[in-house]
Amino acid sequence: MIFLTLLFAAQIKTASGAAINGARIFAEQCSVPYCHGAGGSASRAPAVAGRGFTREQLRATISKGRPQFGMPAFASKLNRSALDAVVSYILNLPPPASASADTSKAPEVVKLSKEEAAGRDLFFDSERLPSCGTCHAVNSVGGSVAAPILNPSFTAAVLNSVKIPGGVTVKVAGKAPFPALRQPSPAGTVRLVDFSSPLPVVRTFREGEVELSPGMDWKHRDVVGRYSAAELQSMLLWLRAVLSSSRAAP
C-alpha cells in the first residue's frame, strides 16, 4: 500500500512536471501538418488520445516509428527525458470529442510477396475500370455495391461462371435503357446500381420515373474476361494470402 501510494505520487509528479514539456514537444513534433492533430485528436495519422496505449507501447512506437504507415522513428530526435515527457502527455490526454476521430484498431498488415502485392494492385487498379475492388471489398477494403469477398478458395473457373440474380433493365423516358441491380430504397423511391458506367452509380429515382424489366445485359464474366489467366492467378494468390487466417499478422 505504501509502495503503491509512493508510486502514484511519483507518477503524478512526473505527469504534472512533464506535462508542460510534453505538450510542447507534442505540439512541435506530433501535431505537425498532416500528423496526429491538436491534442492528439487525429488528423491524417490516427488519434492517439484516449486509446488505452501503455507507456511501453508508446515509448517503443515513438522510438522505432511505424515506417509502413509513414511514421518516422524519433529515437535520434528525442532524448530519454523528452521521450518520457511526451509519453506522459499522451497518456494523460482525454479522448477526442471529434466525430471524425478514428479510434479503431490500426489495420493489420500481412507481409505480402511481390506476386501477392501485384495481385492486390491489379484487384484495385484504378485505370482498368471496373476493377474487382470497384464493387467488392476484401477485409472491408473496397467497393460496397456487391458482396464482399470472404472465400479464399475461388478459382478462375468459378469467377467466370458467377451469375448475378436480380439484374434488371431500366428504362427512363427519353434515355437509352441501362443494366442495373436494385438496392433497398427509401419510401417512394427506386434505388438502383447503374452498371452502364465504368464506375457503377447508385442512382435514386422517384417511383414512376423508371420502368424495370427483369434481366440485364451486364455480365460478371465480361469483367473477369478482361484479365489474363496469369493476372487472375495473381489476384487469387493475394486473396488467399489475406483471407486465410493463418497468414493474418498478429
Binding site: 505537425v32 498532416y34 495519422a45 485505370e127 472491408s140 458506367s197
Partner: protein, 545 residues
Amino acid sequence: MLILLAVGAPAARAAESGATGQDWPSYGGTALAWRYSGLDQVNTGNVKSLVPVWAFQTGDYADGLEATPIVVDGVMYISTASSWVIALDAAAGKLIWEYRYPGSNVRTSYGRQSRGVAVGQGHVLVGTFDNHLIALDQKTGRELWNVDVEPAKYCGCSITGAPLVVKDKVIAGVTGGDAAHRGYLSAFDIQTGRLKWRFYTIPGPGKPGHDTWPGDSWKFGGGSTWMTGSYDADLDLLYWGIGNASADFDSSRRQGANLYTASIVALNPDTGKLVWYNQLIPRDVWDFDAVFELILADLPWQGQQRKLLFQFNKSGYLWVLDRTNGKFLDAWPFVENSNWIKSVASTGELVGRNEPELGKTKLMCPSLMGGKSWNQASYSPQTGLMYVAAMEICADLTAQTEDVEPGASAFGGTFVMKPPPDGPSRGFLAAIDPQTGKRVWKHDEKYFLLASVLSTAGGLVFCGNPQGEFFALDARTGEELWSFQTGGGNRGSSVSYAVNGRQYIATPSGWGSLVGGAFGAAWPDAPLPRGGSSIFVFALPESSK
C-alpha cells in the same frame, strides 16, 4: 432607375468578366476564379456600419468549416466537414433543406474537410471524406446519384475540393498526393453520374512523359488534384493544378521530372485530353504542389493585351503563364523568407535548388505549409491588384527513405516548424501588382491567415484570422476599416451576393483541418484557435442602404 442600376449593373458585367453579381455561382466566384464581387453597395465609405444580419450553426462542429458558400437565386449552399450539405435562404438564414451524409467511420487520411459544393443544372454536387461524389436535387436535397470514385480505404484518398461544373459534366479532383497513390481528375455526366473521362496526372506506360518516372515509381507518385480548377469558355479550356510528387521529400526513387506533378495542365473539357502543361516545380521535393487558385485574367503584358493565368503557389512565388499555350511569362516571390531556390530564370527554370537531403536536417523556407496554403487569392479589376493571404514560416526538414503500402502516407521525411531567420513565425495579407510582382501594401498578422480573400467593387478586401476576427481592408491602401469577432477561427472563404437589392457579405467561421491543427506546431505557446462551424452574414442596416 438609378437605384436598380446600383445593384443591377454589376450583374450585367459579370457575364463578360470574372466579377460576380447577385449570385456567387462557382467556387472562385466565376469559373475565372477572381473571387471578386462586382457589388458596391457596401464600400469604403460605409463599411464601418456593416452589421451581422443572420448566423447559422451547421451542427457539424468537430472539424471546422472551410466551405466557399455558393449562392444562386437567393439560396446559399454550403458543405460541412462531414460532407453534409445545407441549403439556406440567403437573405434570412432560414433552413430550406439539409442532407446529412451517412458515410462510414473511415480513416480520413486528409482529415474531414469540405471546401464547398458546385451547383448546376438543377444539381448540387459534393465530394465526400470517403471519396464519393454525390449529386443532390437542388430544390429538395434528395440524393440523385452517388459514385464511389475509388475505395478510400485502399487509396487513402478523399475529395476535399469543391467540384466544378463545365457544360454537361462535373469535374472532381482527389487527394492522395502525400501517399503512395497515382492521382487523376475525373469527369462525370451531371445528370447520370456516369464516368465520362479520367485524366491521369502521371502518364502510364507508352504515354509521353512516362519516362520521367523510373521503374514502378509512376504507380505511387502522388500528383493529386485536391483543389478546384478554372474554366475559360472562350478558349474552351479546363485548367487544373496538380499536386506534389510522392514521397514528398525523398526523390531517391523517382529521379526525373515527375510529370505532371506540381504542374498546371490545360485539358479539353469534353475528352479530358491534355492540351498543354507547364510544370512549375520539376521533381518537387518540398511538398509545394501546384493545385492552387488559377486566376484567369486578360491584362496588358509588356505592352500587349494577353490572356493570362496566375497562381500564388505554396512555394511563395506568384507564377504567370500565357493561358492560350502554357508559356511561362514570369514568377516573383511574395514572401520574404525563401531559400528553396535562388530564383526562377526567364525560361521558368528553377535556379539554385536547395533540396532536402537524406539523414540531414536543413532549415527550409517556406515550410511544407507553404508561403501560403490553399486558401485562395483574389483579383480586383477595379484596383488592378491581386490580394494574397500569406505566411512567413520555415521548417527543419530531414529526408528519409520509407517503405509504405499503397494508400499509406509517404512523406519521405520528418519536419519541425521553425520561425524564419528574420523574425517570428507570422502571417500577412498583401496587395500585389500582377503585371510587375511588386507589393503595393501589406497588412501584418500575428499568426498565419488560412482564410481565402474576397475583394469587391466597393473598394474593399475581406479576410479572417485564426483569432476569429473577420475584417475589411481598404483595397487601395490596406488600411483596416472594420472587423467583427465571429467566435471561431476563420478557415473558409468569404463571398458576397445580393438578394432583393441588398448586398450581403458571408463568411464561414470555425477552425479545423490538418494544417489548421498544426497551429500549435508553429506557435506552441499560443492558445489554439477556436473551433465551430457557423456562417455569419453581414449587410448595411436596412435604413442606410
